[in-house]
């Protein structure tokens, strides 16, 4: 019993020493923005602002984000301890759906790059956190122009009147 306890405590002490730079129990609070209106942006833009809190109170960790196969370093706001990643793509090639931004720390990033270079499976590397981005596309205008509907209604009324009149006159 005592020996098991000793082994366990040595193991815990060792692992806490080793995990000096690693975030334990990462919690991410995020705010996401996606482009909503076509005229306001010629490209689909995703912005994720997030803050990371670790159980071992690590701060100022360099973080990296991966979205759609593109890996980029996360920027840090100067006025707060939040991070930001942005991504943009052509409207044509960005379909609606849920995109997942995977956040990696330094270690995860190195493993990711290694896997990318050697053509290995990048999904096997578990990220620190995943932020889902629901994207429903941009509003490009109403499906049918109201002017078109008005013209159709006017033509319909005229047609009804005309056909009734020609029927009466015949």
């Amino acid at each position: 019993m005592a020996s098991t306890l000793l082994v366990v405590s040595v193991f815990l002490a060792f692992s806490s020493l080793v995990s000096g730079d690693k975030c334990i129990g990462p919690q991410v609070k995020s705010d996401v923005y996606t482009s909503k209106e076509g005229p306001m942006s010629t490209q689909a833009v995703f912005i994720v602002e997030f803050s990371l809190s670790c159980k071992n109170n690590l701060k100022n960790l360099p973080l990296y984000a991966e979205l759609n196969g593109q890996v980029m370093p996360a920027s840090r706001a100067i006025s707060s301890d939040k991070y930001q990643v942005s991504w943009s793509g052509e409207h044509k090639s960005v379909s609606s759906g849920t995109y997942n931004v995977r956040i990696y720390d330094e270690e995860g990033y190195a493993a990711l790059r290694k896997a990318q270079r050697s053509g290995g499976d990048t999904s096997a590397i578990s990220p620190l956190y995943t932020v889902p981005i629901p994207y429903s596309g941009v509003w490009k205008g109403p499906l049918v122009q109201t002017e078109f509907v008005a013209v159709c209604a006017a033509v319909l009324v005229w047609y009804l009147a005309h056909s009734t009149r020609s029927r009466l006159q015949s």
Binding site: D31, E37, M40, S41, Q43, R76, I78, S86, A150, V157
Partner: protein
Amino acid sequence: MMKALSTVCLVLLLAFASSAGGDEESTARLLVSKNILNEYLVADKDLTVEYIIYNVGGSPALNVELNDDSFPDSDFSVVRGFLKVKWQRLAPGSNVTHSVIVRPKNYGMFNFTSAQVSYKPSEATDIQRVYTSAPGEGQIVSLKEFDRQFSPHIMDWATFAIMTLPSIAFPWMLWYRSKSKYEGKTKKN
């Protein structure tokens, strides 16, 4: 003679310019573009700003800081993103995109000017400062103006339909009344 002389001068100038830029192999060099992605600039609607930082040098850029002062609080509110950010390290030959969404508070002509980027080209050198490209002047239209051109005007069309109703419904009703009276008479006969 003059042409040969001017060509020699030009070549010398280019050689000087390229060498004055420092040893390309061992320092970082950042080129930053700033673009407004909007097709229309409308007050109280999102304005998308995109910065792309390219490291065209041979070594990583350190302590990269982007600072954009050109959207004062009096004229713009930030919807998402930060106008002052930093990256610890930017690898050579890579680029990074940074976007910010602001919302103009007023309408009128606005001159979109450059933002500043500072970085260390290598461990030993001093901080280098560069300016981003400037998108230039743009006309921010008021929301009313934009809606006049682009909104579906459903209420306006509905009002128009109601207004045309009397001039169509009234003659139709007259005809229908006389028709039913006439048909009633013929049926009696």
